[in-house]
Homo-oligomer: 331 residues x 2
Amino acid sequence: MSKAPHLTFDLHEYGVSRGHLVVPGGADRGELSLPVFSLNRGEGPRLLVTGGNHGNELEGPIVARRIIDWLAEAQTCGRVIVLPVLNPLAVQAWSRNTPLDGLNLNRVFPGRADGSVTERIADAVSRVLLPMADTVFDLHSFGPTWHFPPAATTHPIADLDLMARTVRMAEAFNLPLTLVWQHNDTAGMFDITAQNEGKVFVCTEFGGGTVGADNLAIYEAGVRNALMALGLVDGKAECPTFRQQKSTQTLETRPSDELKSPAPGIFEPRCSVLDEVKQGDLVGVLHPMDSLSTESIDIRAPGPSIVLGIRSGAHVDVNEAVALVARPLKL
Amino acid sequence: MSKAPHLTFDLHEYGVSRGHLVVPGGADRGELSLPVFSLNRGEGPRLLVTGGNHGNELEGPIVARRIIDWLAEAQTCGRVIVLPVLNPLAVQAWSRNTPLDGLNLNRVFPGRADGSVTERIADAVSRVLLPMADTVFDLHSFGPTWHFPPAATTHPIADLDLMARTVRMAEAFNLPLTLVWQHNDTAGMFDITAQNEGKVFVCTEFGGGTVGADNLAIYEAGVRNALMALGLVDGKAECPTFRQQKSTQTLETRPSDELKSPAPGIFEPRCSVLDEVKQGDLVGVLHPMDSLSTESIDIRAPGPSIVLGIRSGAHVDVNEAVALVARPLKL
């Protein structure tokens, strides 16, 4: 029978360690070895940084690699564990879900030791790495068919003290957007598992679309700011420039803030992320594909709000989300 | 047996017509009806505009729809036919190729009447629409895992007079980049079929990545400029702003200008499209995924050149293209 998930090195060793998190094999495939970096500088905060949860969101793995190089020189105390690629099978396929079992890693936490490979990855992370951290940063990108501003996000948390600490941690990234995101599809998410154990968990949603040199600089600055705020590194936070502006805001969004497509067709965005819109402003246009005699359909803002995310020109079905709007957070 | 491909309306009718290009059914599926717009204002240039050749490049269909609305007011002479979506099956799947037969529409021209659905689309376009035009604009976007500047492109053409006229037409888009692109995988491309019939064919590569409101404005301005240069519409060309600059340049690139990945891993772009690089400048970094003890590998410019396209953070295999560079065109 398969062994238990384990690390190939001792996390308690002082200084830099590099090795692997071994995810045991199962009926569907043999064992997986996920590269892990650890830097132990003794007493202080205990942080876990993960990327590559979804395989078509590659800012996270790249920023994680950059942070590893920087930490080796900059970290002054505490312990940081970095796992740049949670799901190498999905990354190799540039796919949100794992091709082998079709599962979304971020919906199967805390995982199952006797499950399929995606569930075994979640189980290994939950059992071996999560107990070693008080704070978790999971680096996402919102996927390739949306525009989304650089953001540090959390879902609402029932424990109000943990909620307040999580929002403060998210704001410390100093990114253009801090977001409290209420949605109905949170079962099995990594953050829910971590929060149930009392940990501060921030999910960064770094842009959507594709990885570019300009955006990577913003993402890395955000993670560095958060590491400084935790006290792991000395330094002064910077405020990255996004769309020619240096600004930050804290917003909230709910399921009712999703704008849906009124028909199947090609969605044309008519505004950009972080644009302020008034009731009736044009957000996008839906072009039916079956006839050029059918009028295109305007999609307008239902009320004063800020455009949070917008579909980047995909073909959509009727009732599929094409934009998300948000409002200033009231805690 | 199936009928011949045909239009549901008479292209010679004066004024605006809207209808369909009917692609006959075959063994794999029934007939397809592709929406077509036509505006006949009598004597003058005869232009065909197509989009949606590749299903995950949706700037083309959107810009085509915008141009239709504009032409109805602005066109003063000649005939314009617009087919916003060449391959609706690929567009619905947000897929480069047609899911049903796995074929790339832009590699099966001039098509086959008794072939699979992708070949039948090419056949219908080649036989019914292409003979009606002297000039063709096919609106692409370079696909979602590359950054690419707004560009009007052609391949080298053996007929030097047609080549000169094609480059002049491409330059009339007034986009940041006009490109003569030599590559070895041109068999079955739409432009080769059109050029063999003596037509001026310009392929626009509008950005790569995802559709945004800012980029769509650039794309639409480019197509409007070209329609004005043809004399179909009155007006003065504008020079769109891209990356905070208003500039245009004409470049050429060859297969030897492709930079390849030295190993499998995640590619990190370190420069942006249209950046000028000197020999040895860092273009990107390749991060192997199997170990954090393996050094990341720098990918550097082989000589002085301009970055034409760059992979936007995908996982790549060894020897896969990660960047394209170019040099000023010498005709």
